[in-house]
Amino acid sequence: MASLVLAEHDNKALKDATAKTVTAAVQLDAPVHVLVAGYDCASVAEAAAKLAGVEKVLVADEVLYAHPLAETLAALLLSLAGQYDAILAPATTQGKNVLPRVAASLDVPQISEILKVVAPDTFERPIYAGNAIQTVQFGEGKKVITVRTTAFKAAELSGKALVERISAAGDPATSKFISEELSKSARPELTSAKIVISGGRGMGSGENFKLLEKIADKLHAAIGASRAAVDAGFVPNDYQVGQTGKVVAPDLYIAVGISGAIQHLAGMKDSKVIAAVNKDEEAPIFQVADVGLVADLFKAIPELEEELKKLGY
């Protein structure tokens, strides 16, 4: 039987997280279908059809899914579940919200945030903030899986899948979308940026994050933060990188004024190159950093900006 991947999108563009989840799904050795639930989302379905390895794209294009909720999305997935052996979603806030609801309704367990497909029924996943890796195997029944997208490459755009319209499932009508407040930024998204520059408690204030913004604008980097910086109210929670925030794995991660608590490392230690700026030579961040600059960030970051300017950035 086939595997079904729940697509992540904003009704206009398909998110990169979907392409990465498809890569994981393909490794289950079964045909892969993608479900696009949205409203006025034809361009998303088209994009999903181009992903290599996808056999069919199911599109539920209905007002009900303009702002899909856990209740409506789970009802739709459950109406389709009979035809599938596995249901996957990226481990985004949407995937995390919806998939356990589907698993429990099917009376099967879920394996969260897989890092690797060992066999079609066996997966690696992080526990204890990534301080241990568990290899875990499903028993009988359908497989419900969320995928840590930083652990998989995006599927290529060489596919030509069939697009099939499907109708909406029932509306449980127990919950209602009211509004959404998305932070608008011209910078790349934190989870898919090639370069991320993050600030910690050492930044001292939200105002001081402007120092990082200047570097980010030069390098086309996304801005992140440690939990300490979020807790201190310097920046919003969706900047948070770590066990309880986002997991990133860019080509270059620059940690500024971040001590390097294990909970923060959990969110960035798979970055290709880690650079750190911290005045405390003993800070644990230096134990994982490929390049560490021991310096006062308030001197070093403006200087870094100047140097980058000289280099033509």
Binding site: H67, L69, A70, A74, T93, Q94, K96, V98, L99, P100, R101, A103, A104, S105, V108, P109, Q110, I111, S112, Y128, N131, A132, I133, Q134, T135, V136, Q137, F138, G139, G141, T174, S175, K176, E180, S183, L219, V230, D231, P236, N237, D238, Q240, Q243, T244, D251, L252, I262, I274, E281, Q287, V288, A289, D290, V291, G292, L293, V294, A295, L304, E307
Partner: protein
């Protein structure tokens, strides 16, 4: 209105766990245990609802070994009214936890269940959503702000890229995110008072729930280690090293 708050006993936030040499799990012998931080936020939120006069009774539930009663005591010291300990020594998966909680909800009939969004040991992030499915209740996960009405709750949720506001009909499930509140420290008089609050002891069998694992853990291993690299003193050297690494 009754509020149910499930709380989990986990390895303390500040402990760096070690994988056992035989790869059967992590070493928990003589390790400090505490209430899961997200569950503390859940207890705090319930207590605030009671202080506002919106909640009338808070029931703290823990599923785990006898020592989980200490975790319930912590909840009672923060302000919960009574506890239920469902005793089980074996590790228990989120689906089985959700089934036990469903049975407790059917008996206790709370209007609201507030849970932590994830436990910091297995990092599953499943139990609240699973409980909502089993009860066929609506859910508002990753709560940033909770406002309780007569028949519904308005919840601002932390989502990728920002915040989303939803309204859920009661009874409902809410799971907490970090910024919902800052849990208080229990005062000494409240810790003393908590010792007199009742904790009822049960077993999974009392709720006819089979807790045998449905997943098979084949091994638990160390993650690949990262080696620290070079430390430099000047911005020039710093940039040079990054260029050498090919990332600039």
């Amino acid at each position: 209105m009754k509020v149910l708050v499930p709380v989990k006993r986990v390895v303390d936030y500040n402990v760096k766990v070690r994988v056992k040499a035989d790869e059967t799990g992590v070493d928990l012998a003589n390790v400090k245990m505490s209430m899961n931080p997200f569950d503390e936020i859940a207890v705090e939120e319930a207590v605030r609802l009671k202080e506002k006069g919106q909640a009338t009774e808070i029931v703290a539930v823990s599923i785990g070994p006898q020592q989980a009663s200490e975790t319930i005591r912590t909840a009672l010291a923060i302000g919960a009214d009574r506890g239920i300990l469902v005793k089980t020594e074996a590790p228990i998966e989120p689906l089985a936890v959700a089934k036990i909680l469903r049975a407790i909800c059917e008996a206790e009939k709370p209007s609201l269940v507030i849970l932590g969004k994830q436990a910091i040991d297995d990092d599953s992030n499943q139990t609240g959503q699973m409980l909502a499915a089993l009860l066929d209740w609506p859910q508002a996960t990753f709560a940033h702000k909770l406002e309780l009405g007569e028949a519904s709750a308005t919840v601002v949720r932390e989502i990728d890229g920002g915040l989303q506001t939803v309204e859920v009909r009661l009874p409902a499930i809410v799971t907490t995110d970090l910024r919902l509140n800052e849990p208080r420290y229990a005062s000494l008089p409240n810790i003393m008072k908590a010792k007199k609050k009742p904790i009822e002891e049960k077993t999974p069998a009392d709720y006819s729930v089979d807790t045998s694992p449905r997943l098979k853990v084949l091994k638990v291993s160390e993650p690949p280690k990262r080696q620290g690299g070079v430390k430099v003193k000047t911005v020039g050297e710093f940039l040079g090293k990054l260029k050498e690494a090919g990332v600039l």
